[in-house]
Amino acid sequence: MTAATTGVVRTSRLDWAALAAALAPFAVALIVGAILLAATGRNPLAVYGLMLREGFGGESRVAATLTAATPILFTAIATAISFRAGIFNVGVEGVFSLGGLAGAVAGFTLTALPSPLLIVAELAVGALVGGLWLAAPALLRARLEVDEVVSTLMLNFVAVNLTLFLVNGPFLAPGSANSATPMIAAAGWLPRIAPPSTLSLGFIIALALLALYAVWDRLTPLGFEARLNGLNPRFSRAIGIDAPRLILKVMIISGAIGGLAGSAHALGVTHRFVVGFSPGYGWTGLAVALMGRNSAIGMLIGAIVFGALASAGTTVQLFSDIPLEIVDVLQGVVTIFAVVRFGRLLRGRSAA
């Protein structure tokens, strides 16, 4: 058990076995990718070298990596909060899109507001929408014991379709070829923190949330209750923890952060909401949360690695004839092997 999973604060120890376990999925992915590359007549080492350079070589590349890492870090935090409490919430993918749309809508409607206020309003709207959205499955689980895996999974699809409907309908930018909303007013954009790269304030916000998460996890009563409930719900009930209330609080926070994540992504990167807004950020965040064992450091590292993968992949495509899909292959394989030995999480869960 690492420091992250035991209770009250204690000094962390470097756990070599855990480190090896954390690196294994990447090793497997690299091998699988190498086989694919070699089978199609390429030099895997050269490709990986290129990706490494594109991911981390130089300031602008690092900035691009961090930009790509930001939404993943956000969604990882959002998911980890639920997981801590033993709630297998897979709905962050859905609220990410909803929050993004909500933030974008605020951004092109509330154009009268001046800069910092507009940004705050957009983020707040995203968080509000996300929090409310996940309150529903929270209530279903808390009051009716409906499995949250099923309910949040279904809601993901409802959310995505809802945003599609809205962006193709009422929120469609006039004269737009592909389905997209109007651009967010310039006053509503998250400022860049390392021009000319696209790294925005969103990254800093994500880092701040990560720090808050670490504090919440170890040093607050709610974090303590969440952890107890996640580890042993019968025990936490017997000592007086109000599980329905806890579930509601935790899921709403999860949803709020997920919605905030989407909004920040819209404000900082895309500056509008388009179809295909989320290439699975919620799912990647989920994998990162599990890989990082819900710990702050683990999630940060995981998010950066996946961000590097995504960012390097896009640029590698420009320099070579390697299809972008290699990134998906690598990412998918890492995801599968990263959650090895987490089967226990679903012990006793019977979906419907």
Binding site: L140, R143, L144, V150, N168, V334
Partner: protein, 299 residues
């Protein structure tokens, strides 16, 4: 008009039903399989390629079945032997498989969208003379491909196998109480892997129905999330083959209606949401019913 919609619905239900039955069998064996999408996609591609190469649709179906089964089996090993979290691993599988197939499409076929292969033999449509003329029934029964008939047949067959055969009993035991199964000399992990292979095979067939049963081409988006609709049908059916089939049929009908309404002023996305909303409504209703039955279980 109704006939057209029903005829379409019957065809659209098939891949959902096949995958949903696979998901059901898998769930009884103990795994919630979110990777059905990957298996469906694999089956769709393999069926098209095999049909083009051999000019034989039975061979193509066999190939799709095997391909889906293999993907299922390998995925299952990661879950049972390496204890991967089945939900996340399923999602990862979808991403990886879509990535792999997309890679092959771009690299080998030099296409970034759809591929058309030469000499593809499609699944035959079986017209039943006499029945075909009957309104509604004719639309549903006549002019369907062999896989559609298979999917309907599988419903009672699955129900029978589950409740009355040794394989079904061992499957249910392995899924519900693996420790007890092991104590009796069974191998619950092997049984689980087998159930996933079956699910993968059925999902592969579902994919085949899409590529060589309906459209005749392949694209990475061919399944269009149908595997998740199948999942919704399986949640709707709550581990019972009959109910699952009803759910699949309902969602197939939604799909057909949605296509029919396209261009007639109703947004497709709203219809596409329906299966998932239906599942939520059903689960809520069940939850309410259970709660009333439970009474003062403790806050």
């Amino acid at each position: 008009m109704i006939d057209n919609v029903l005829a379409a619905a019957a065809l659209l239900t098939t891949p959902i039903l096949l995958a949903a039955i696979g998901g059901l069998i898998n769930r009884l064996g103990g795994i919630v399989n979110l990777g059905l999408e990957a298996m469906m996609l694999t089956g769709a591609y393999v069926a098209l390629a095999a049909s083009s190469a051999t000019q034989s649709w039975p061979l193509a179906l066999a190939a799709a079945l095997v391909a889906g089964g293999v993907v299922g089996y390998v995925f299952s090993l990661a879950v049972t032997r390496l204890q991967a979290n089945e939900i996340v691993a399923g999602v990862g599988l979808n991403v990886a498989a879509a990535g792999l197939i997309g890679f092959v499409l771009k690299d080998y076929y030099h296409s970034s969208g759809t591929i058309r292969l030469p000499d593809v033999v499609m699944l035959p449509r079986i017209v039943i003379p006499g029945v075909a003329q009957i309104p509604i029934v004719g639309a549903i029964l006549s002019g369907k491909d062999p896989l559609t008939w298979l999917s309907w047949a599988l419903v009672p067959i699955t129900a029978f196998v589950l409740s009355r055969t040794r394989a079904g009993l061992r499957l249910r035991a392995a899924g519900a109480a693996p420790e007890a199964a092991r104590a009796l000399g069974l191998d619950p992990l092997a049984i689980r892997d087998a159930s996933t292979a079956v699910a993968g095979a059925l999902a592969g067939l579902a994919g085949a129905q899409l590529s060589i049963g309906v459209v005749g081409v392949f694209s990475v988006g061919i399944s269009g999330g149908r595997a998740f609709i199948a999942l919704a049908a399986f949640y709707f059916g709550r581990n019972r083959p009959g109910l699952t089939a009803a759910g699949a049929a309902l969602f197939g009908l939604f799909d057909a209606i949605q296509i029919y309404l396209q261009g007639r002023g109703v947004a497709p996305e709203l219809m596409q949401m329906l299966p998932y909303i239906v599942v939520l409504v059903v689960l809520t209703a069940i939850g309410l019913g259970e709660r009333r039955r439970r009474l003062w279980q403790g806050a």
